[in-house]
Amino acid sequence: MKKFLASATLAGVATTIAWGQSPSPTPSPNEIESLRQQVQSLTQTVQALQEQVKAQEEALAKLGSAPLPSPAPATGAASPSPIPSAAAPAFPTEDESVVASSAQPTPIAGATATPAPATVAASATFPTTDTSVVAPTDSISTTGAGTALTQPIGIGNSRNYMNISLDGLFTGGYSSERDFDRLEPHGHDPNQRGFTVQNVELTFQGAVDPYFEAFSTLIFLLDKNAETEVELEEAWMQTTSLPFGLQLKGGQFLSPFGRINQIHPHAFDFADAPLILGRLLGPDGLRGAGGQLSWTAPLPWYSQLTLAVQNGRGETAWPFRNPGEEGIFFGRMTTDRELRGLEDLVWIPRLENSFNLSDTQTVLFGVSGAFGSNDTGGNTRTQIYGADLFYKWKSARAEGGFPFVKWQSEFIYRRFEAGRGMEETFPVAETFHDWGIYSQVLWGFKKGWVAGVRGDYLQMTDSAFTDDLAREPRSRVSANLTWFPTEFSKIRLQYNHDFLGGTQFFGGEDADSVFLQFEFILGAHAAHKF
């Protein structure tokens, strides 16, 4: 089309040149000859171009396209582009500048059945293909990871096979209590008076092939002596197209226990983790290498059953086969033994259900378990049970996701059989019944603004034989205010009051702490689950 117009223009120009030069009064034979040659060469060019156009039209026709429409002058309200319609109505009803001349979606794979009726084809008054206006269908970005499967995932306008993002989470803070290790037990909590690099997370995500997708997070943090620690927090693959609502997952991943354990620190609603996460599941939460099978039940509401099995060894399986610091755990010299059988792995079942209470209110609740062995004796077991509840209301006229109210509560009970340690060196065997709860309400009262309150309670069984720092009963209240300038940054001010009166570990004085937390996200960060 363009070529045709171009050749027409060219011909016009040639004529103009010829005419423009002819008025010269008495042209010499030389001049006439040179003009003749010029005209001849121009004519040849035009012919060559016409042939090219013809060849292209034929090629297009072979591709099964309808004949190219001839441009008709725009009538009525002028449109920014020519209206390709023979009988153009008063107001244009077609517009090639926005609708590519082929509305044909991706070729339908395996649709061998009845072809679409002829009328559908005929109704397409535009030619069915035209690469000059249709973006190649494969350049249209899919809606994201997990859906893309074989297609590259877009980072901006470029195309790439994975999404990459970098998230930085920092806090500046002060507390009346100096011992942050004991006050803030989770590994990504603020760790000193002054500034803490809580979590710098590098995330990779994408489709592996038509059968799997994969996700990985590498975490960098600075300890209080500014030593950089690197954690392979997660690196897993999972199936995308198993039948019957099944999904298999394998690799290193956060255990599907409870709610807060499955959330990355940068997505926490507070500057620090609930006490039960750091104390009952461990300073690093519960995660590890293993496999998982989940099943979405064919019910009218959301119901998912998950069973994961993980090694359950080391500091990321803290209450299980964990040799502890310098070989001591809860005062016992640990056995640090190899796996003897399936009972030494950690088995983690979880059932979660969700209902909509109304058009704007949703609840999600789950029950979880984690069962395995621990290293404090020859045959000592750990059982953990959890229940979690999440409620959210969001306005039907929400802007940027605001206003909303979220209520999240979680209860964890841990039964820990503490044996007599390696070679029965500890005086007694005992069983600890530890439990705790937290409950938090977040109110997004205005676009970008969230206010929150949280209560924490932790009860630990007394042991007459150990004054382990990790076995303190605790309670705490927190309040915070967060401003999200956009979904890619946040600034949070938080106040904590720890009730420490009556505990022997902190000298019996309550502690007050203030944190200013800030976060940035660069790149294509994966959307979060509900």
Binding site: I108, A113, T137, G154, N157, S354
Partner: protein
């Protein structure tokens, strides 16, 4: 309580029966849903995820959507990153091969559409930018026709027995839009080339179609709340250009628009992107009818 247990299996049975009879169609946004209803008629059951009145960039990935997606025969989404913040985790959990990209059951509406306003330089310093271009394209009736055809073709591919039915409905929709375009074009012709202000940059396709100039925005950058200094500049510009209307959507801060209107003499016009957000706009054509008449009333 006991009653509930009796009602429940019956409900379940009814659900399964209805699922067998009709094509299960899930649309991410109400405009796709409205067009799908026109094309599918009583042969399809359409569920829509986003509410017409809410900001469609920030819909919650409620688990109930997983249930809808799990049993969907057809999924219609924009395919232009509008639903990027909430659709991917849902699809990850839905485990439904029928609605994967490239399958006949997946309609990505932006396919075949040339999106306007794709940024040449991609930086989040510019606010909420859409890398592929402005995704609010359904507001242009000509584009809506193309999407309707796309939907009709997908329905025919998934349910060949009713292909003629879907095709007839598409033809009807196309004819209605073609006729209506004459009416809308005539109504808005007197205001061609006139400037209009808007809260958010979501009307480029409408402006392009009917020849308005919508280049003054209350938001300094897309998705960034208006600041007083920016509003002062907006008021100045609006006075200079004699702007008569400020377009506001249901979830925007109307008070800000009212203040600007009071100091410029312009009128606040309540518009919406989605059928169902304004009264009596349950179909696509009725929505555009409402938009056209509201704009015309304010400009007069």
């Amino acid at each position: 309580m006991k009653k509930h247990f009796l009602v429940f299996p019956a409900f379940l049975a009814a659900l399964i029966a209805s699922a067998e009879a009709k094509l299960n169609v899930v649309a991410t946004l109400p405009d796709f849903g409205a067009v799908a209803r026109e094309i599918g008629g009583d042969k399809v059951a359409v569920t829509v995820m986003a509410k017409p009145t809410e900001d469609s960039h920030f819909v919650d990935a409620r688990p109930s959507f997983v249930v809808q997606l799990r049993t969907a025969d057809v999924l219609i989404d924009g395919g232009a990153e509008l639903e990027l913040g909430w659709l991917p985790p849902l699809l990850q959990n839905a485990r439904n091969p029928k609605i994967e990209v490239g399958k006949p059951g997946r309609v990505q509406a932006a396919q075949g559409i040339r999106l306007m306003g794709a940024p040449t330089t991609l930086t989040r310093a510019a606010g909420d930018v859409h890398a592929l271009g402005n995704p609010h394209f359904m507001i242009d009736p000509i584009i809506a026709k193309a999407v309707a055809l796309h939907i009709a073709q997908a329905f025919s591919a998934v349910d060949p027995a009713n292909a003629a039915f879907y095709d007839a409905n598409y033809k009807k929709f196309e004819a209605t839009i073609n006729a209506k375009l004459q009416e809308w074009g005539a109504t808005l012709l007197p205001f061609k080339g006139q400037p209009i202000a808007a809260y958010h940059e979501s009307w480029v396709y409408l402006a392009h179609r009917f020849g308005f100039r919508i280049d003054i925005f209350l938001e300094p950058k897309p998705g960034i709340p208006p600041s007083p200094s920016h509003l002062a500049r907006v008021i100045e510009k609006m006075k200079a250009a004699q702007v008569k209307a400020i377009l506001v959507e249901p979830y925007h801060n109307r008070k800000i628009a009212e203040k600007v209107a009071a100091s410029t003499g312009a009128r606040v016009v309540d518009l919406a992107q989605f059928p169902g957000a304004l009264p009596e706009t349950d179909t696509y054509v009725k929505l555009i009818d409402a938009l056209v008449s509201r704009i015309a009333a304010a400009m007069r």
